[in-house]
Amino acid sequence: MTSGRRTGEFPHFPLHLILLIYVVVTLYPLLWVFTIGFSGQQSLMIVDIPSNATLLDRLRAIMPWPAHLSVSNFTSVFTEQPFARWLLNSVIVATATTILGVFLSCTAAYAFSRFRFPGRRAGLMSFLVSQMFPGTLMLIPLYIIIVQWLGLGSNFIGLILVYSITAIPFCVWMLKGYFDTIPKELEESALMDGASAATIFYRIVLPLAKPAVAVTALFSFMGAWNEFIQAATFMDKATMYTAPVGLRFFVGGFSQQWGYFAAGAIVTAIPIVVLFLFLQKYLISGLTAGAVKG
């Protein structure tokens, strides 16, 4: 093993030590939220500390393990609080956003990759520039367009449209990079065999671009699942809140229901984290491929 000899100068033990320290840094906030979630109470304190606390008491207070294990936060967040409804809203919005976003991005990216037409470069550059538009500049006009002109306030359709379309630039750039790597000869030979443009797109190009499409889907889904400020602006009715708005409702302002927040956060985060870990290989290859190609 040549590389083994190369790195052989470094003993692995200190490397593991560094990595383990960073593991603690990474995991601590996550364990902490689990602790609060399973503590069965609303307080931020892991355990109560006596006034003349010893070092051991203090140490116990930062150990991420609840004083009493309880799932009551999880049950009451679903029964006493309308969190199930908020979660369902998020599922509806994120799923629809993903479907619409992937459709819009794939078609546009295919055209940008395969066809040479006037406005192509301008279109791609405008997508890039749009990434620099500050969200605060867009929020008021978007509110006017969505709520006042289109009458889509407190309506899923408004949020779905905004989410899927704001995800387009990133998705198009990413998919275009991937489509560029698919050899054109495949399509040309299919064309020879008499396939229509639509057939080529749906039967040849899309299946080949599966990893990139997966990343696009993940990106759109995550965007919609995690977005909070626009949802808070457009959704006036409490029954139409999405999960992020609802979670913020637990600990925003004067409300200090940290137990509900932690339980809700765990429920909200787990699917997205699992999905992310599942698809991250594609995301990373997509990002690096796009990055290296420029």
């Binding site: 040549t2 960073y22 867009m138 997205i272 420029g294």
Partner: protein
Amino acid sequence: MSAGPSHRRRFAVGLAAALVLGVGLFQWSLVRARARENSARAERVAVVALSALAEIAERAGGTGDDLRRVVVPVARENPSLTAIRVVAFDGLSLEASTAAADSGDKAAPRRLAREEKPLYDQGQRLRAAVETNRQEGGARKEEIEMARTPSGGLALAAPLEKDGSVVGLVAVETSPFPKVSGTGWLFPLLVLVIGMAAYWGGALAIGERRGVLAVAACALLVVAMVVLARHADGTLAADLRASESTVAAAVAAEEARAAKALQDASLGDARTLHPAAWDSDLFRRPYGIVRADGTLDEAKVQQGLAAGASSIARVIGTYAVLALAVLLVIGLGLAARLGATLRKHRQAYAYTFPAMFGMLLLVFLPFLYGVLLSFTDQSLYTSQAPVGDLFTKLWIGFKNFTDILGDFHVATRSAAGLVWNYQNIYWTLGITIIWTVTNVAYGVGMGLFLALILNTKGLLARPIYRVIFILPWAMPNYITALIWKGMFHQQFGVFNQIIQMFGGTPVSWFEKPATSLFACIATNAWLSVPFMMVISLGALQSISADLYEAARVDGATRWQQFRSITLPSLKPALVPAVILSVIWTFNMFNIIYLVSAGEPGHSTEILITQAYKFAFEQYRYGYAAAYSVVIFAILLAYGIWQNKVTRATEGI
């Protein structure tokens, strides 16, 4: 294009399209303007009737038989009123009513029924409005409430006063007012036909000379628009005059009725009424056009006419510019060329259309609208105003920008030393730069460091480390922000527990700018490492081992290998990642907004959260938009500079 299409015909099509557009828009606005004037007239007449009733009701003492004796006959004699009700707060009583429902055992006077509470509430709203306006010495809340009834009439309510305080309300309903008599299509059609005929006649003489044809068509269009503008001017001026005389007649009629009723009830001298004040806006500010004797103040009328004329000129001018653009685009063949391009690449355009249409509607249009807002004084209080007002009443030019960028009072010297002005843009910009540079530097440094360690061949449990280190990226960042905010809690937060464990005193993290910013940076640093780590790791793994082998053969040290092999190979992956992450961090709204919320006193805001606060806490939409445009300009300048330096977008 020797055998190309005829210029004559092209300009004919162009002129026809432009005329149809101009005439259509003209007619549409004229119909709308006349309808507006018509309902404004009906509203003024209704307000006159209501104010007259309110005044004689006040004169009659606000309650009792006297009130009914004067109010009911006046209301009955007025043909335009279908119902009137007078409510006194004292005893929740319906003092007088001519409504059909209030007859028999429900006839006034009686106590208000439970389902009539909205009427009482309306009275209390009006009382609050009157008191607010008096306290502030201004006119912020409407003192007359007006709404459309289902039948097409108006429902109005005004406060009933006694000795200077509001003791009840007077509500009236009017019968539906007449619609505008048809605005003829004949005249605009005639303009269209004559315009086309004149062009074709001229074109036969001119022949295929393109320049002359263009000038002729444009001149005809301008003449047509001027004719239309004069026509609109005349029609609307006549409408306005009709309104004034109708209102004047209404004032005179109400005065006569009121005087008679007061006399019949022997309630004092009718000459002390204030009919000049009856024609007022909804804040009960008299327009002052109708004099007390029922005649018109001609100077005021002329003023109104002049204002109307200038607004017509502006509107028709805008339409003329639009129509001219259409004429030239079609006439000069641009439209034809565009059509040919669209046909030639129709597949590409069909594929991009849905995405492009969405982007135009929900990204670029809001952006342009935001830029427009930045030149105005728009705020929550004016947000219902029509878009046209942005160009006129609310337009303030570059004032927002000079206010934002020209304010150099970053700090003031006082006895206690320097006092920073946290809302100053240069302070916020400084914080934003510190925020961005620190985060990106930490992200790259830590990410690269971890990636180098993880890239060690044969290291145990590498995939496990990798998955754990990615977790912060996978977590929704608003959850991360709220978790860290909890961990920095002054009393219960984990960090203060750790500090106390080592015998320190707990820190109030969010009470000093430095510690508050530190808390935010710590949060963001935690979640920005994985992205850089993953990018670096990907790039490291793609470096061929042969390069290191060769370097070792040449006797290069590890540092030399890192400098001349690892770093250059990382560059193509890291540079775009750094650019992206600078832009992301610069605009990272959630962390600042949720962790420190700008505390203390907006000192830890970054530009984007500060803009949000201007918009949604101070409701200064125009100012916030200008602030956001400045942010965009900074990012754009950065992007262009980066692009120059790295040429990242080459070869699209």
